[in-house]
């Protein structure tokens, strides 16, 4: 098909440019292709007619194809369906614009502005509350300090009382200790005194016996002298 169209157009060009078909120019321009046809002028006429017919028919067919393709692009082939109008601009466009602008105003009135304002106010309130919470944290610190001070005082008090009690008890204990020591010392002194007395007594008794004993020893050792 394509070959035919090309061939016919070539023939048409040669035939149109050289209507009287001078053999030399035709033969020089297309020596190897159309040599047998160009030798006779009537034959060329015939071929020209043929080619015209072929060209017309091929053009017709190609136009038909193009038309059918164009018509068919949206596949609405049925006879009664009109051409599909994908890019059909009309009053819908400004209508949608106006609708959109009205919708924008309305949504702004009932949605964006009130809810946005409400959310911002709530955010601000929450932030404020958070800040106030931070303030109480310093209060809590103060209270904690107070509690620590109170605890410290109480501890000091307790330790003081403890010390006093310790002192008192040590005094008492020392007193009792001293008393006991005195008692013991007294007893010791008495016992020592007794012991000394007994010692002296025994020494005295021994002294009184020494004379008799020595007389007896002298008698026993020196019997001769006495005889």
């Amino acid at each position: 098909m394509a070959n035919m169209i090309v061939a016919s157009s070539k023939a048409l060009i040669t035939a149109a440019s050289i209507p009287t078909s001078t053999i030399t120019s035709a033969s020089t321009s297309k020596p190897r292709f159309q040599l047998p046809h160009i030798s006779l002028s009537p034959k060329i006429r015939i071929t020209k007619h043929q080619f015209d017919n072929i060209l017309a028919s091929s053009l017709k067919s190609s136009v038909a194809i193009a038309a059918s393709v164009l018509v068919m692009t949206p596949p609405s082939m049925a006879v009664e369906i009109e051409k599909a109008a994908l890019f059909d601009f009309n009053l819908t466009l400004p209508a949608i614009m106006i609708e959109f602008l009205l919708l924008m105003v309305a949504l702004d009135k009932i949605y964006f502005t009130p809810l946005g304002k409400f959310m911002d106010e709530r955010d601000a309130a929450i932030k404020e509350k958070l800040n106030s919470v931070k303030d109480t944290s310093s209060e809590v610190k103060q209270l904690e300090d107070q509690a620590a001070a109170v605890l410290k005082a109480a501890r000091a008090e307790i330790s003081a009382a403890l010390n006093q009690m310790k002192k008192e008890t040590t005094v008492e204990v020392e007193q009792k200790l001293a008393e006991g020591r005195k008692k013991i010392e007294a007893e010791l002194a008495e016992a020592l005194g007794n012991l000394e007395k007994q010692k002296e007594d025994t020494i005295k008794a021994l002294d009184s016996q020494i004379a008799a004993l020595s007389d007896e020893i002298v008698k026993k050792v020196l019997p001769v002298s006495s005889n």
Binding site: S68, D88, L107, F112
Partner: protein
Amino acid sequence: MNVLPCSINTLKGFYDISGVEVGQHFYWQIGSFQVHAQVLITSWVVIAILLGSAAVAVRNPQTIPPDSQNFFEYVLEFIRDLSKTQIGEEYGPWVPFIGTMFLFIFVSNWSGALLPWKIIQLPHGELAAPTNDINTTVALALLTSVAYFYAGLTKKGLGYFGKYIQPTPILLPINILEDFTKPLSLSFRLFGNILADELVVVVLVSLVPSVVPIPVMFLGLFTSGIQALIFATLAAAYIGESMEGHH
């Protein structure tokens, strides 16, 4: 030559089975103008859903939010965050625009996938997502263009047009071209995605009526959400771009 009618016939067969209606509109005549009634009807439903739910949820705001209010607060924070990251500190006045853009596109896209529009029979055409129509997407994209021009002009006055010769005057044609490509790409991206998504689902449902289309439907829901996000983010980015000082 017989191949062509044959393929056309098979295509027509598929077409009849699937019952896809592409580019079929239900027209209303207003004066000497025509409108696509199916788009207007579905957009009214979308607007009603948005306004109704917002009004019910935000009617009486509580300090400790109930679930519905919590959801709307989440959405608002999401939109604020999006605007703030794209526009910067002066995002406040643009929250309604960006938010409405996002919510309208999102609810429109999901309404096409979730609402049983097919129950309502129209004389011609069928009900689908409003973003399925090129008029809607071009309207939104043009509004975005107007918005970023307005933002730039109010912020910088006529000095705004100085950005066309930044960083060098050689880029002037490209900078001017950008003003045309921005709305074009915005509108065609949304339109193409939503239309293709709905077509894929419809064709798959017609071919395999049971399990197979379900993942594609979920994919469609995902795509719809992403497209809404992309549109809103790009709109915010354009506005932020025209408001930022050049250096």
